[in-house]
Amino acid sequence: MAVSRDDFSIAFRSALLQRGGAQKFSILSLIISAIFIFFLDVYGFTAMKTVRSVVNDVVFRISYLASSPVRILPTANEGLAKHFYLKKENEELRQVIEKYKSLELNLEFLSNENKNLRKILDSENDNSQKNIVLTKVLIDKNSPFLKSIIINKGTKAGVLKGMPVTKNNYLIGRIVDANYMSSRVLLLTDLNSRIPVTLGQNDSQAILSGSGLPNPKLEYLPEGYEITEGVSVFASGKEGIFAPGTPIGKTKANKGKYSNEVKLFVDPNQLSFVTVHLIRLNKEKN
């Protein structure tokens, strides 16, 4: 019995303290280092924040370079396929441009009308005078636990924590971590994402919560509210971060596990360029 206990303690100690060959460090020393780094990072000392910001910037750039072969292969394949359909695509694009031209005229009319109505209501929105920054998605690593992307603009370009991020004017998420030359965007599909929204003709209020699945869900809907297919969901702007009326997606009339789901206008897995809105933040400021 005593021999067996000795065996256990020898094997245990050896597993923790063993060094030699490729094992330059003992596991125990590395575990202590990892715990030390973890608590330094979690309790967010000022010096550590700066270090983390620099490390993030460097690692994100290296990661972008390391991912280049993975990005280039599908793009090259796609480019080759597109080449054969260039003429057809050109015609289609011409038609789309014509369509957008007519829509633009319509939009201008609606914008003017909206401005005039706002003046009448005397409720001019502070966020209407906002700047935007076009950014490139550096890393889009798919994690089972966190749904986020890394963009190539940071505090140097005026990006701050909490700012909304859109693609084609559709809301996709917000900045949760701003470094000097890069930032992390928390997508609407992430489990940690919660934003107030408005939907339907009655302007019903709800909270759009990420579920970790492709479609976020509506929570805290008015009592007795029945979801119908295809109702547009907009940011309500009540938290003072997202501009009111920013389109997000359309409701889906699913039942059971997938009930109250919202199909986003933008597929969060297909992002290459996004826009950060440099608005004045009322609540979150870092």
Binding site: K24, L30, V55, S143, V176, R184, N192
Partner: protein, 170 residues
């Protein structure tokens, strides 16, 4: 002879290279597009297998450093993946010290214990010291598929070891 040595070195750094590449690149083992719940943790399988079979080619420093890189890329608090990886590394070291001959079944069983402890460390730290919310169902799916796929990667890595690295087990 020198060419042979050079090739041997390249083959030897293969597992470490794969570990770093999975940490730093966009390549991931989150296959939710194929099947909604299909995700698994390949780095943990790599660490467990190579520390058990060939500790001479998988340094603990590399495991620690790749964990730090993974934390930066994924947005977790620094050091959390390193800790989780080192727990797996410790179990693998312990099993290697205690056993003479291992089989796929014994490795699978001990891997299960290592995986459970590594995940407990990872998620209890994340839950208690970070604001990040994580779905418990996703954790269990990830653990299940990692465990389920272990024998497949065990075979693949054994084939790699026999054909490119050679020699006997540690």
């Amino acid at each position: 002879m020198s060419k042979f040595n050079f090739l041997n070195k390249i083959y030897n750094i293969g597992p470490v290279f794969l570990l770093y590449y999975l940490s730093i690149s966009e390549v991931d083992t989150n296959l939710e597009k194929i099947f909604e719940i299909f995700t698994f943790n390949l780095p943990i399988i790599i660490i467990y297998f190579w520390i058990l079979k060939r500790p001479s080619i998988m340094g603990t420093g590399h495991i620690f450093f790749s964990g730090l890189i993974n934390d930066v890329v994924m947005g977790f608090p620094l050091g959390i993946s390193s800790l989780s990886n080192l727990v797996v590394c410790f179990f693998s070291n312990y099993v290697r010290n205690k056993s003479i001959n291992t089989t796929i079944a014994s490795d699978w069983f001990t891997f299960f214990i290592a995986l459970i402890f590594a995940n407990i460390v990872f998620f209890s730290l994340l839950n208690n010291f970070s604001d990040t919310i994580i779905s418990y169902s996703k954790i269990s799916y990830n653990t299940f598929f990692t465990l389920f796929l272990f024998p497949i990667f065990w075979l693949l890595f054994t084939i790699y070891q026999m054909n490119f690295i050679g020699g006997k087990d540690a």
